[in-house]
């Protein structure tokens, strides 16, 4: 028996009080003179015995009451073990299908081992097939039939994902806790070192899991791979592209390799490189002329090895003219665009050119040709312009609104309508959220002075990317339909701040420009399993589309109209058309961690194997289950009952005493 609040047991010391009252006080007798004792007898009277017995009963009840109360408040509980019905046994056959299983005949070997395990099952045994890579997929439900199990094993294909043993064991723990069965897990894998979790305890399965590990392949086979490729996703103005690649070898001797750069299947450049033993070599193609349009690039090394899938590395590149940015300024303030335009043009890699235009004369009927629109310190917009801009944003466009004093005079922010007022108070820049895509990589806005600022009121869902020192928002990011909007709480022309005179102005302009133009989500290549955003909200936009590496449409009609994202699971090129109409060519490469085929040491495997239940599993075996039973309520009830009896008994006792008097 244990206690949750054992210090309440100190209350038992209170039994000293009734003991003192009953045993000590009771025998304090004051001698009383009496005329003659000739009618008294020198013997303990029977009534005294009864009285003494009653007093002892009363004392016992009072002591019991105090003890019961103390025990009840101490909240005792008993942990008892009761036999429970034995868990049924579930045989789980888990097969590693990660990218590394493509090496040689590992997957075939794993399947053969799995088939053998299925055949070795007893007649009524339940079994389930799991596929393991970066996540765990149940290929079958728990089955007694052998046929579905064999079919699931046969259908297993290697993926381009990395395997995660930590995720695998986490799923086993969930099954252990929720299935109510004894798990006899057979895991067949190449046991890659890179699949291990950072903490070994993540490999400990549940208490009802017996883990058997089967390693396919042997030793640490050599493998070369193109580990990474750095290539621009877009090139502009006819400038050549610079492409670099890193070649790696694991457990490999030094070797001469030929590295070829291919565009759309054609070799446009080739180089020989010496890859050091178990080392890395970098190859650079400094000047590759990229034709207009989107192209499928690949860096491939030769000769290949037993894992040819990582001998090539895909990337996408697009050559296009710089995209235009419409800078709208108020009448008479043509110089407003000077700083912004100069800053943007100082970064030609951004692929953006600024076209200033007077707000009153600008043609806003068709803004789809512009990467985004800048509204510098606008006043009240006419209805047609505001409607056109809102429509542009909702369809995937973007606007940078610099809300200066003129905007504040209008009393509200154009396009969004929230209240705005100008604060005539010098300010500096405080916190910047560099984790936000709008200002990713931008340095501090040191020493930037603002003579005043527009006090903005963020809406629900807004992200405050930067703040003034006093805490007021400086830059607010907002999603509107499929588009984006950035609201800057000052002007961009240097009239209300000295921001354009600081070096931090250029990265601010470039990064916000790239964010608004949607360039930040256009990498030349991604790792398999990376999700791509199809739409920003379910309620708006047209149908999205994804065409996989094999040329098939990956989305059904429902997904095309409602899916927010899509996982790029396979190695190859995906053509993605977002709901806003933007088309992307995304190169997907297998996780190169899988190229390191170094196996887990045998001693580590033995350690992992021993983390599971080591006793042989017995179907229907009786096991003991511990249960904690807290019975303080019963003690309290007993104390109440004793108190009741003591009250009745004590009242009768006292009444009898009064009758005697």
């Amino acid at each position: 028996m244990s206690f949750l609040s054992p210090w309440f047991l100190a209350g038992i010391a209170a039994v000293a009080l009734p003991l003192w009252l009953h045993l000590l006080q009771r025998y304090k007798r004051t001698p009383q003179p009496f005329s003659s004792l000739m009618f008294f007898e020198r013997r303990l009277q029977a009534s005294s015995k009864q009285r003494r017995l009653r007093e002892f009963l009363l004392l016992a009840m009072r002591i019991a009451l105090l003890v019961l109360l103390s025990l009840a408040f101490a909240q005792p509980f008993i942990t008892h073990y009761s036999p429970v019905a034995g868990r049924r046994k579930l045989t789980v056959i888990a097969i590693d299908r990660s990218f590394s299983m493509r090496y040689g005949a590992r997957l075939t070997e794993a399947k053969a081992r799995a088939h053998a395990l299925v055949r070795a099952l007893g007649g009524g045994d339940l079994a389930q097939i799991l596929a393991v890579d970066s996540h765990v997929e149940a290929l079958t439900a728990p089955e007694r039939e052998r046929l579905p199990l064999h079919a699931a094993i046969d259908s297993l294909q290697a993926t381009d994902h990395a395997s995660s043993f930590g995720e695998f064991v986490r799923v086993l723990r969930v099954m252990d806790a929720s299935s109510g069965m004894q798990l006899d897990v057979h895991f067949i894998s190449d046991m890659q070192q890179t699949s291990m979790p950072p903490v070994f305890t993540d490999l400990v399965p549940g208490p009802h899991t017996k883990l058997s590990l089967y390693k396919v392949g042997s030793g640490n086979p050599p493998n070369w791979a193109v580990e990474s490729v750095t290539a621009p996703a877009r090139v502009y103005n006819g400038s050549p592209a610079r492409v670099t690649a890193v070649l790696s070898g694991w457990h490999t001797p030094q070797a001469e390799k030929t590295v070829s750069l291919m565009l759309d299947g054609k070799v446009v450049a080739s180089k020989s490189v010496t890859v050091p033993a178990s080392g890395r070599a970098e190859v650079e193609f400094p000047s590759i002329n990229i034709p207009y349009g989107q192209h499928r690039g690949e860096i491939r090394l030769s000769p290949g090895d037993q894992l040819p899938e990582d001998d090539g590395f895909l990337f996408s590149v697009q050559r296009s003219d710089p995209r235009k940015v419409l800078f709208l300024y108020a009448n008479g303030r043509a110089r407003d665009a000077l700083y912004y335009k100069a800053a943007m043009e100082s970064a030609p890699d951004a692929g953006l050119t600024v076209e200033p235009a007077r707000l009153e004369q600008a043609t806003v009927d068709d803004l789809s040709n512009f990467a985004f629109v800048v509204l510098d310190n606008p006043g009240e917009l006419d209805a047609a312009t505001a409607r056109a801009l809102c429509d542009y944003i909702s369809k995937g466009g973007a606007v940078l609104l610099a809300a200066g004093s003129t905007t504040a005079q209008a009393g509200h922010v154009p396009l969004s309508g929230e209240a705005a007022s100008f604060v005539h108070q010098p300010e500096t820049v405080g916190d910047i959220d560099r984790g936000d895509a709008a200002l990713a990589g931008v340095a501090d806005f040191k020493n930037v002075q603002f003579s005043g600022y527009t006090l903005l009121s963020p809406k629900a869902g807004d992200r405050i990317v930067a703040r003034f020192t006093a805490g007021a928002p400086l830059l607010i990011a907002r999603s509107m339909g499929e588009g984006r909007m950035l609201i800057f709480a000052s002007s961009l022309d240097g009239s209300e701040n000295d921001f354009p005179l600081h070096t931090s102005f250029v990265p601010f302009v470039v990064q916000t420009g790239r964010y608004l133009a949607g360039e930040e989500d256009l990498p030349s290549n991604v790792i398999a399993g990376t999700p791509v955003e199809l739409r920003r909200s379910r309620s708006a936009g047209t149908a999205a589309d994804v065409i996989g590496p094999d040329g098939r449409h990956e989305l059904n009609i429902r997904e095309a109209t409602s899916a927010l994202s899509f996982n790029l699971d396979r190695d190859g090129f995906y053509e993605v058309q977002r709901a806003g109409g933007k088309r992307l060519l995304i190169a997907v490469d297998a996780d190169r961690r899988e190229s390191d085929l170094t196996a887990i040491p045998d001693e580590t495997l033995a350690l992992w194997r021993n983390t599971g239940s080591t006793s042989p599993l017995q179907t229907g075996a009786v096991e003991r289950q511990s249960r904690s039973w807290s019975f303080w309520r019963y003690l309290l009830l007993a104390a109440f009952a004793v108190a009741l009896v003591e009250s009745i008994f004590g009242a009768r006792y006292l009444k009898r005493g009064r009758e005697v008097l």
Binding site: R29, T30, S35, S36, L37, G657, V660
Partner: protein, 299 residues
């Protein structure tokens, strides 16, 4: 006689506040007498009592010649004053008489009673004497009707002090030695003795023609002890200690004391003695009335 006299007497507790024993006696007796009806059966000396036929040898001075003249028969005229008797009060002064649960202890009550009796005897011109005793005779005042006897008796009663144990044999032995004339003997005690022993001790006096009255003075707490809790009781005479319980005192003791009283009454009445139980919380009228009844019979 159906006269309710209870209210005519002063409460013993009030009597206890009176310091002078003679004043106590006078208060008690005067109150008692004031409540009596004038009756031919009760009177005092020099009052006519009866006629009796003359017999030779009678004193001729007592012949009523008026009756003789009318009837030619000689009758003697008798007066009550001529029926004077001797009252002997035996007052128990043992230690147990000092017990009292209220303002009046048994010994106080006994002294009030004794003083009232001797005062009443004095009013009737009876001789009165006193023996104060415990295990020894503390004071002995011979009976007399002379002038000053009352004050001697009252002083003897007032000066009486509690002694040790009770021993009835000594005072009654002494009494038998000098009491030649028949009279009334009053024994005031709590009688914590076996009834047989008490009656056997006092019975010889009765054989000599004495009227013997036993006034049994008990405190209410002795008749019905009220204990709230078990108590350690100390015998006032022997200093013996005994522990008792309220239940015992309430049931067993009461039965025993009642049996003792009943036995004493039975034994006394069987031996021709008069017995009266006098709890100390009651007025003294019964004692005085009893004395009067006996006194009348002695005339």
């Amino acid at each position: 006689m159906a006269i309710e006299l209870t209210n005519r007497f002063v409460d013993p507790a009030v009597l206890a506040s009176i310091s002078s024993i003679d004043l106590v006696a006078k208060t008690v007796v005067d109150g008692f007498i004031a409540g009596l009806h004038r009756s031919p059966d009760f009177g005092f000396s020099q009052e006519f009592a009866e006629y009796r036929a003359y017999t030779p040898g009678d004193d001729l001075r007592h012949v009523d010649w008026n009756v003789y003249a009318r009837t030619e028969k000689a009758y003697l005229k008798r007066y009550r004053g001529e029926t004077n008797t001797t009252l002997m009060v035996l007052l128990d002064a043992s230690a147990s008489m000092g017990f009292g649960s209220g303002p009046v202890h048994k010994f106080d009550y006994a002294r009030f009673l004794a003083s009232a009796l001797v005062y009443l005897a004095h009013l009737q011109r009876d001789s009165a004497g006193l023996i104060v005793f415990h295990d020894e005779i503390e004071n002995f005042i011979h009976p007399s009707a002379r002038q000053g006897q009352l004050m001697r008796l009252l002083h003897g009663i007032e000066a009486a002090a509690l002694g040790k144990r009770t021993d009835y044999r000594r005072p009654f032995f002494e009494l038998q030695q000098f009491l030649k004339r028949r009279g009334i003997t009053v024994l005031i005690s709590d009688f914590f003795e076996e009834p047989d022993a008490i009656v056997d001790t006092v019975l010889p006096l009765r054989f000599r023609g004495n009227e013997l009255i036993l006034f049994h003075v008990l405190d209410p707490a002795e008749i019905d002890p009220k204990l709230r809790e078990p108590a350690l009781l100390i015998d006032m005479e022997t200093s013996e200690a005994i522990e008792t319980s309220p239940e015992y005192a309430h049931r067993d003791y009461r039965q025993k004391i009642q049996a003792h009283v009943a036995a004493l009454r039975t034994k006394a009445e069987g031996a021709g003695l008069d017995y009266f139980l006098l709890p100390t919380d009651r007025p003294l009228d019964r004692a005085l009335r009893e004395y009067f009844t006996i006194r009348q019979g002695r005339m």
